[in-house]
């Protein structure tokens, strides 16, 4: 079947989730060619070069931390956790949109998720890998990390189950494991496609090993879908629990500025906010660089912008409530910390920047014109990422630097190694992402075929809709 001209909008005024004119075959060919046929291009080489340079910086920074101890960071008393936990929470938060898109939107039968879920899940995995580095390094002796695990050690000691830090170990490692499983299960039919379409013997062998001999049997598909749905159902409460547990690390402490019941929902909303911002940050250039306009349409960008706006409003509400509690509760330490210190103290510029990035600027998303303007949307998503990093920094550093006794107050100044470790993890993330783009399909082929089958009615007349014969309006690109 030849490709039909694309139509910009469906009759109901919405952009389609997939440009019309695709068949099972064209979708498969286009996505698998990104991996199998596309030669190395300058965009990919630039990306991997930037990524691996920053990754080298990470290795140097980690070596510096291991050789000298975490004192090379600007940590002091009372600010004993600063960039490291800020980065940890930020990275874990970014991971959340991946699981949210794959699991919750799957359960809600939001078909627009299909073309973004694969790389959003990959993003989750890579973000969690970056996040995990920080608590490990902060331990000072990371090679003893297994002390946190329940195992029969020679001292007959167990982890302290009542500590949120131990909950964190379980929550984050479970989250990483389940995300990996979810991602791999989704990949199996696609790996089989790559195995069947690869012309290189070695590639065929490698994809074949990971495809486990998948052959698309009806019985296999039946169990496969059950497993996938159950995993989605299990991952959904997991997303909420992980960031809730992360927030309990703070809430369970009695530091003014941390000890707040609003933290769990506030952290979860913030995580989704930053996660969707990161998906947009990645999806927009990816779509341009690899010509994926048919699959990641205006509708996806629009929907993600709306989710970002909604979660941004929840975050704004949480900031307001934090302020209100501190004022209404009249605990002098909390009042001093939240009402006085944050907007007027030494870190005030960061607080005002946070308000601008996370509350003021996202309001532009109310305008459909802004949501349609791809470049502007991309800039806003980057601003939100910066804002969410500032939020975590403020919660952690500002709360710690001024606690109950003014005599112990002290400023935190980041050192070179603070910045280099953070930039380094961005390098790790970029490197992993570009390797992923090179060797695995960025869009879930099997699910796209299903979407074609459902929406465009090719290879199955039963579900045919009016979309199979679109009005030809040539030259209009969605």
């Amino acid at each position: 079947m030849t490709t039909l001209p694309t139509s910009a909008e469906e009759p109901n005024g919405l952009h389609p989730v997939l440009a019309p004119g695709h068949t099972l075959g064209t979708v498969t060919d286009k996505i698998s060619e990104l991996v199998l046929a596309r030669p190395l291009n300058w965009r990919w080489i630039t990306g991997i070069t930037v990524g691996s340079s920053l990754l080298t910086l990470l290795l140097v920074s980690v070596a510096a931390v291991l050789a000298n101890g975490i004192g090379v960071w600007g940590l002091n008393r009372p600010v004993m956790w600063a960039f490291d936990i800020t980065n940890f929470v930020w990275w874990v938060g970014i991971g959340h949109a991946g699981t949210l898109i794959s699991a919750i939107l799957l359960l809600l039968k939001q078909e627009w998720r299909t073309s973004i879920n694969r790389f959003a899940e990959a993003m989750t995995l890579f973000a969690v890998a970056c996040a995990g580095l920080f608590p490990l390094l902060h331990m000072g002796r990371p090679w003893l990390f297994y002390w946190l695990m329940p195992y029969p050690n020679t001292m007959a000691l167990w982890p302290q189950w009542r500590s949120p830090l131990v909950w964190d170990v379980f929550a984050v490692s479970t989250y990483a494991t389940v995300s990996l499983l979810f991602w791999y299960v989704g990949l199996v039919p696609d790996l089989a496609t790559l195995r069947d379409r690869a012309r290189n013997r070695w590639l065929k062998l490698i994809y074949g090993i990971f495809a486990l001999g998948w052959r698309g049997s009806a019985k296999h598909w039946h169990r496969y879908r059950t497993a996938y749905l159950l995993l989605a159902g299990l991952a959904t409460p997991l997303v909420v629990s992980v960031h809730t547990v992360v927030s309990l690390d703070f809430t369970a402490g009695i530091v003014p500025g941390w000890h707040s019941t609003i933290f769990p929902p506030y952290f979860v909303a913030g995580a989704i906010f930053s996660g969707f911002a990161m998906v947009l940050t990645l999806a927009i250039p990816l779509r341009g660089a690899f010509g994926l306009h048919d699959f990641i349409t205006q509708r996806h960008l629009d929907n993600m912008a709306k989710v970002m706006l909604a979660t941004g409003l929840i975050v704004a509400y949480s900031y307001t409530m934090e302020f209100f509690f501190a004022w209404y509760g009249m605990n002098i330490y909390e009042y001093q910390q939240i009402v006085v210190e944050r907007p007027t103290g030494p870190y005030a510029p960061f607080w005002w920047a946070l308000m601008t990035c996370n509350i003021l600027i996202p309001q532009a998303l109310w305008s459909p014109w802004v949501r349609r303007n791809v470049l502007l949307l991309w800039v806003i998503s980057i601003i939100v990422n910066i804002g969410m990093w500032l939020e975590r920094f403020l919660i952690i550093v500002v709360s710690l630097h001024a606690d109950y006794i003014p005599a112990s107050w002290r400023m935190f100044y980041p050192t070179f190694w603070d910045f280099s470790t953070f930039l380094g993890t961005i390098g790790l993330f970029i490197t992993l992402l570009f390797l992923f783009i090179r060797v695995l399909p960025v869009i879930a082929m099997a699910e796209m075929r299903e979407l074609v089958h459902e929406t465009q009615g090719h290879n199955g007349g039963a579900h045919a809709s009016g979309l199979s014969t679109p009005t030809p309006t040539p030259g209009v690109e969605s």
């Binding site: 007959a156 167990w158 791999y184 001999g213 998948w214 598909w221 496969y224 409460p237 629990s241």
Partner: protein, 181 residues
């Protein structure tokens, strides 16, 4: 031991380009008395597994069992270590301070249920299986792209090389292939 009636033949495979005719063919083959058969498709097709007579999906039970093991195992681990093996008085709280044990219990439940969903699916499907006779059919590599197949196995009691081929050809396929071992 009973000899295999067709030592060179795994089965006969009909090829389709659409889901509709495949579903219809699968239903007809089942109605005609064939039981040992399988269908292959690049997408999960609604009702296809039922059409070839596949009803028992044990996976939900496996996942439920995995979740229960994770739940009780996780709680038991904490209870045993905090109450029996190494009781510590933390701010006068009871040794069995179960509300504090719930986050980890939840995580182990999800972890075990997810692991059993994935490994249960792989095991019940008989994967990994790098070699399978259906891969010998040349056009089968399109089963992961855009084509659909219905394979009647030669160990079906009703299988007959000539008659079954004629029967499959009557179901409107694009082609009928012999699947060798």
């Amino acid at each position: 031991m009973k000899p295999i009636p067709h030592p060179d033949l795994y089965g006969l495979m009909a090829e389709y380009h659409e889901t509709g005719p495949l579903l219809e063919a699968a239903r007809k083959a089942y109605a005609d008395g064939f039981r040992r058969m399988d269908a292959f498709s690049p997408i999960p097709v609604e009702g296809l597994a039922e059409a070839i007579g596949f009803e028992r999906n044990a996976l939900p039970k496996v996942v439920f069992a995995g979740g229960l093991i994770g739940c009780f195992g996780g709680f038991f681990m904490q209870w045993y270590s905090a109450v029996v093996d190494y009781p510590l008085n933390i701010g006068g709280r009871p040794f069995n301070s179960w509300p504090a044990f719930l986050p980890i219990t939840f995580e182990t439940t999800v972890l075990c249920a997810s692991l059993s969903a994935v490994f249960g699916m792989i095991a019940l499907n008989g994967l990994p299986k790098p070699y399978h006779p259906v891969f010998n059919v040349e056009s089968f590599e399109l089963a992961s792209r855009s084509h659909f197949f219905l394979c009647v196995q030669s160990d079906d009691p009703k299988f007959d090389r000539v008659a079954t081929r004629a029967f499959l050809e009557g179901l409107g396929p694009v082609a009928v292939h012999e699947v060798g071992f």
